[in-house]
């Protein structure tokens, strides 16, 4: 039940967030709502407003439906329930986009019926006066985050690999900041000042996001090193990291959208940019005349890829494969199965994980309670722990057990310390008695 509740709490916000973000698309930003560009008069047309209102209601119902659907998951068996959870997750990612695509299609019809659709042309117009000469944050702004990320290695060698990996992530964040943003003017009409303000604002928000990721990662490493042997402390640090990062990312995205809405509130009178024919369903960018792979999303801060490029096709294919396989992810999670301890004449077999030579065993202890251990590498589920762990009392450990099924056998060899157990108390005690 505890495992299910944690899982429920960590996933239930997903449909709420996605529906909130999609409902926000109904507000006009850069003359665009739900992926369709309208002139100023179109933005106030009763048919357009009515369709947008209907879209908002549909998204709300989808959200309520997905949350209600998740309620029975609370009472599922933790192990068998995973597949159900992943099917629900798949629905969460896909279903909210159905009203979006339908609304996009209807709005395009309204646009065409009112004569607001521009002729599809093969021409690209570039205003040389607004081509941005952007100033980028120096890589030095990210260097302290790299140093802070690897700093805990000074007092904690157990997690060295993780600290190093996180430092590499910080470097990747800088690379993402610098190269996953297209330096293109955010032109919506012929107002040069608005174009320049939109372009600068977007780049600033983009920089804030990646700096935040870099320093949050460094803070996480320091937090983990400090709370290393405090299981609850580590959970709190990880949860704070996740919540702060998600909340800040949403705030930055919404702030960008709000400013885009404000700056273009009076736009669309006379000349305006209309790229609708390059966006399939209002979501996917497809422009064979654009040689760039990375493109900026039309609204908000994020980037996307051009489906017309070969690499774009590969990336989209991977995303589709990833989405379609979500319902099957549960089948690949290792829940430990039957935890076993078996003895042969010369060896002790700990499930399918470890083999210990009996003549190498120096000491065997039966522990009635699980000592405070921290996972370095491996699986950490409420009813299955396996892999490399660290303990203040015993140092590095090879673990394979169910933490809810004591007792546990601690086996010391010259090179390694093992902590193992089964889900049957009698079997564990029998093995201990035979080994001691």
């Amino acid at each position: 039940m505890i495992g299910n509740t944690v899982l429920w709490l960590s996933l239930i916000w997903l449909p709420l967030l996605l529906c909130f973000m999609l409902r926000n698309e109904s507000k006009f930003k850069k003359n665009i709502a739900v992926g369709v560009t309208f002139p100023f008069e179109g933005r106030r047309h009763p048919d357009v407003l009515a369709r947008l209102e209907r879209f908002k209601k549909q998204e709300l119902w989808v959200c309520v439906g997905l949350v209600l659907l998740a309620l029975p998951c609370l009472f599922l068996n933790f192990v068998n329930g995973f597949t159900v959870w992943f099917i629900w997750l798949f629905l969460c990612v896909v279903v909210p986009y159905i009203p979006y695509v339908l609304c996009n299609r209807d709005l395009k019809h309204i646009k065409e019926a009112n004569g607001w659709k521009r002729d599809l042309n093969t021409e690209i117009t570039v205003d040389m006066s607004v081509i941005p000469d952007l100033k980028w944050l120096s890589p030095w702004a990210f260097v302290p985050a790299v140093i802070l990320a690897i700093l805990p290695m000074l007092w904690d060698r157990d997690f060295s690999l993780m600290y190093m990996l996180d430092a590499i992530f910080v470097i990747l964040f800088w690379l993402s900041y610098r190269y996953l943003f297209r330096s293109k003017a955010e032109k919506v009409d012929d107002n040069v000042e608005v174009t320049q303000a939109l372009t600068r604002m977007r780049q600033n928000q983009w920089g804030k996001m990646w700096l935040l990721c870099a320093y949050a990662m460094a803070a996480l490493n320091i937090g983990i090193s400090v709370t290393k042997y405090n299981h609850m402390g580590m959970i709190i640090v990880t949860v704070i990291f996740g919540v702060v990062l998600t909340a800040a990312a949403i705030y930055i995205e919404m702030r960008t959208r709000k400013l885009q809405e404000k700056l273009t509130a009076d736009s669309g009178k006379g000349y305006y940019i209309d790229d609708d024919d390059k966006w399939l369903g209002g979501i996917v960018y497809y422009n064979p005349n654009d040689s760039r792979l990375v493109i900026n999303d039309r609204v908000g801060t994020n980037s996307g890829v051009n489906l017309a490029k070969p690499m774009g096709k590969v990336l989209y294919a991977l995303i589709v494969i990833l989405l379609l396989t979500i319902p099957f992810w549960g089948l690949f999670i290792d829940f430990g199965g039957d935890l076993t301890l078996e003895m042969t004449d010369s060896q002790l077999l700990i499930s399918d994980e470890y083999t210990v030579e009996r003549n190498e065993i120096l000491q065997v202890t039966l522990l009635e309670e699980l000592p405070a251990i921290t996972r370095i590498f491996g699986t950490g589920l409420p009813e299955y722990l396996a892999g490399d762990f660290s303990s203040k009392e015993y140092g590095k450990l090879k673990v394979c057990l169910d933490p809810t099924s004591p007792p546990f056998v601690l086996i010391k060899t010259p090179d390694t310390v093992y902590l193992a157990g089964t889900r049957d108390q009698a079997v564990t005690e029998e093995i201990y008695n035979a080994l001691k």
């Binding site: 570039v126 330096s183 293109k184």
Partner: protein
Amino acid sequence: MILKFDFSSDIPLYMQTRNQIVIGIAEGNLTPGEKLPTVRALAEESGINMMTVSKAYNLLKQEGYITTDRRKGATVAHNGNQPQVKEETINALRLHLSELRLAGLTKQQITELLETLCEEAGL
């Protein structure tokens, strides 16, 4: 200044870029000493390949319309660097005159047409 790239045109994109910049300089939309966008910036903005933009800039440099500097980037050339009228430009003009003549225009009409075009170009 607005650049327009027509992807359905028979004229290569580098030549479209070159022609529009030449017209921009001639009509005063680009003034001597004015800084042009870097090759990378123009490619990012238009979505055209960087090599294509680079080819157009190299051609403009060869023809003397622009100058390039590693630090300052590309700038519109000053009058001192005024390019000579090329033989092929004279030949193209001769061809266009023949086409107008074959279309039935008299010398008077051709002169009037040229004057109108010169006025439109601010000459």
